[in-house]
Homo-oligomer: 128 residues x 4
Amino acid sequence: MTESSPGTTLDDAIPTDSLDDPTAAPAPTGVPPSQHHGYVQDKDAYLKRLRRIEGQVRGIHRMVDEDTYCIDVLTQISAITKALQAVSLGLLEDHLGHCVVHAAQESDEAGAAKVREASAAIARLVRS
Amino acid sequence: MTESSPGTTLDDAIPTDSLDDPTAAPAPTGVPPSQHHGYVQDKDAYLKRLRRIEGQVRGIHRMVDEDTYCIDVLTQISAITKALQAVSLGLLEDHLGHCVVHAAQESDEAGAAKVREASAAIARLVRS
Amino acid sequence: MTESSPGTTLDDAIPTDSLDDPTAAPAPTGVPPSQHHGYVQDKDAYLKRLRRIEGQVRGIHRMVDEDTYCIDVLTQISAITKALQAVSLGLLEDHLGHCVVHAAQESDEAGAAKVREASAAIARLVRS
Amino acid sequence: MTESSPGTTLDDAIPTDSLDDPTAAPAPTGVPPSQHHGYVQDKDAYLKRLRRIEGQVRGIHRMVDEDTYCIDVLTQISAITKALQAVSLGLLEDHLGHCVVHAAQESDEAGAAKVREASAAIARLVRS
């Protein structure tokens, strides 16, 4: 998938019609369509946001290095945390909308497994 | 429960088995799939936990009324917040595993709508 | 602060022995000021808010009991968590403004001890 | 007090009167003691931690670029959020222990102003 052209979208890499192919191995955990990462379509936007966050962290490093007033540093860190949270919530929505939905459509078991996994990620997100 | 509860609307409105072929294999849990709220099976446990949380809030009221040391009150509030969070995460996992999975199995559109709704709830949870 | 010399330390601003001066205007509850819990002056407001939160938790119990839709229950829990958080932040500000400030005015050691304690409470609050 | 107290660390490290002594090694920003940012003494440790966090953000950028599985990306983001939170809590404790304590020792008004400012920062931190 990574080698594909930049314009690659979901359906290019792995033919979705394999889903309807009765001879295809059923995929409870078994790869293809349900393994498409939800964020693939928004990848450029995510990369841009992460680059910006990286710059914000570098900015805080500079603030501390220049003895910026504590409270101003804290304000900036809160802004970064919010930005990271927004990325997480975006990735999670994409994940639910793609990986979890596709798994549910494959089988109850595959859906249940993905839900368990997603729920653990949500718990980590809520507690972080 | 559904027969007697006056608050019930959902299970009345849409007979769940009409959604599926009645000859189809039953859902893993043997309950009508898409319309049960995820938490129904754990309802008693949730009610017990909520009753306990209510008691904890009453306990904080008493602590403040008796001029308990601020830090001890804060510690108790943190404990309640964690308990509420655990209830939320449980309800959410049940919701994803039932409502969202079943919606995804009904149609892509139904799945997408439930995912949007769940994602908004997750965002509220993360930000609260 | 502005009038004081830059080197001003503890004992200049507020003579600590005024705390023990029997002719000084008595503190509202007649206990040494540094022992006043910060929230004492807002106690009625806190009690009212806690009573309302207790009612909100009872409301969630009822919602679950009546099989209310999961997402609506989650929304209500998020509201309670926010309300509890607001109480915590209020108590904490009162605590810093009274207990911590008074401890700092008593001695560096007393101030440092209160800061350590408050910081641990803040960490619990942030992580809950 | 600061000269004799065994628990004192700050004033040992940076003698307050050296600040006004033109021949003394200048304090980083050359400001009065109460204006010293709490984190100055741990500055190198903070800089190191921030550099590591910056690397972690870059790592997430790479993960997304290489189409890493969503859940694994989320786990890494949660780790970064926790690391940033730990930096915030550290800075805050340093701030309370230095800026707020010193302000309280200067005057009630100075203390109250710093407490208000710190409380607003804590609220942002809790809500981020």
